[in-house]
Amino acid sequence: MGELLWIFVSALLINNFTLAYFLGICPFLGVSGRLETALRLGLANIFVMLITAVCAWGLNTFILPYAPYLRLISFIIVIASTVQFVEMAVKKLSPELFKALGIFLPLITTNCAILGLALFSTNKGYGLLEGLVYALGAGGGVTLALVLLASIREETELMDIPKLIKGVALNLIIAGILSMAFMGFAGLFSAG
């Protein structure tokens, strides 16, 4: 139990996918303009990551021992098609959920955070349960970073900022400060 908690907190805060590993930066900078969209994107991310964890575990256990060189290709194809399939199923079964996740579901599939999750959990040798917890932590971390950046960006809209720095440059510097703040979590466990 303790180890699972450690995996979760580590992925959520200490090794935050966005702020420490720089995965999923494109949507992080692109879609973080409004708080609500950011939250939905984050939720869709958690959703896809959980599916990915199951896919990665299945591939690692049943197929890849026989053909290790197919790792990348099989990961990306299986993940993309599963997400596509799940998207259709969700649309049929729960239109509300589908509406909430919206366009982000298919877009996220080619997000580097998803493939990164599959690769990292393979490298760390996680089993199914550990992989799922890791996915939950990583997805939560991405959501946290997105929501934080979006809230700060909504505030900066009203501020009097020099025209030159507006846009991507400002967002990157805000992200840098956020990332610095998250570095503080590194001491969380060694102390206790």
Partner: protein
């Protein structure tokens, strides 16, 4: 008559990626590797060259088969082509330069989802003949290498006081450690983009001034 126009078009497609439409500084594409592996000049150069290789060969292949690939499944086809070349790079680096491969880790594999590469296939290679696609891919790839190298060199100089592991400042230098840690990546790129904005702004002002 046709020849010079052809050549200048090819040169144009090649040159635009280097500065005017630079994938990192202007289009802000492929951010993950840009920030993640640029803590030393060597790492960023290796990453840039790996991406350049994948970009050139995928563009060549996509351009060759552009009339054969059905439109509906083109993205999947592109991804499979890209993933194949990334696998090649991954294994080649593991065999030739195990140290660098270890440092870059999963980020070599993550070249697959670099939006720069997929973006060039979709926007250019799938619509243009092989020569132009090659020029475009080389230009964009070199632009990417250039941008990565700028960031890597800056961060290594500030963060460890070295360049390619040669000490630059002597004993008295206190390294600015934050620059080689994750926040430094965000800061360096942010300030570089700010500098480029300033350059472009100044050029625009000069142009309007000379027009009046």
């Amino acid at each position: 008559m046709n020849k010079p126009i052809e050549t200048s078009r090819t040169a144009e497609e090649f040159l635009k990626g280097l500065w005017r439409e630079n994938p990192v500084f202007v289009a802000v594409l492929g951010m993950c590797p840009v920030l993640a592996v640029t803590n030393t000049a060597i790492n960023s150069l290796a990453m840039g060259l790996a991406t350049l290789f994948v970009l050139i060969f995928s563009s060549l292949l996509v351009s060759t088969f552009r009339n054969v690939i059905p439109k509906q499944v083109r993205i999947t086809a592109f991804i499979i082509i890209i993933a194949t070349f990334v696998t090649v790079v991954d294994f080649a680096l593991a065999a030739l330069a195990p140290d660098i491969h270890k440092e870059l880790g999963a980020f070599i594999a993550l070249i697959v989802v670099n939006c720069l590469i997929l973006g060039r296939q979709e926007a250019f290679a799938s619509k243009n003949p092989i020569g132009l696609a090659l020029a475009d891919a080389t230009g964009m790839g070199l632009g990417f290498v250039f941008a990565l190298f700028c960031l890597g060199a800056l961060r290594e100089i500030l963060g460890s006081g070295t360049l390619f592991n040669f000490p630059l400042f002597g004993e008295g230098f206190e390294p600015w450690v934050i620059m080689i840690l994750p926040p430094g990546g965000f800061f360096t790129l942010g300030f570089l983009l700010l500098f480029i904005n300033w350059l472009q702004n100044r050029r625009q002002k000069q142009q309007t001034a000379s027009m009046n």
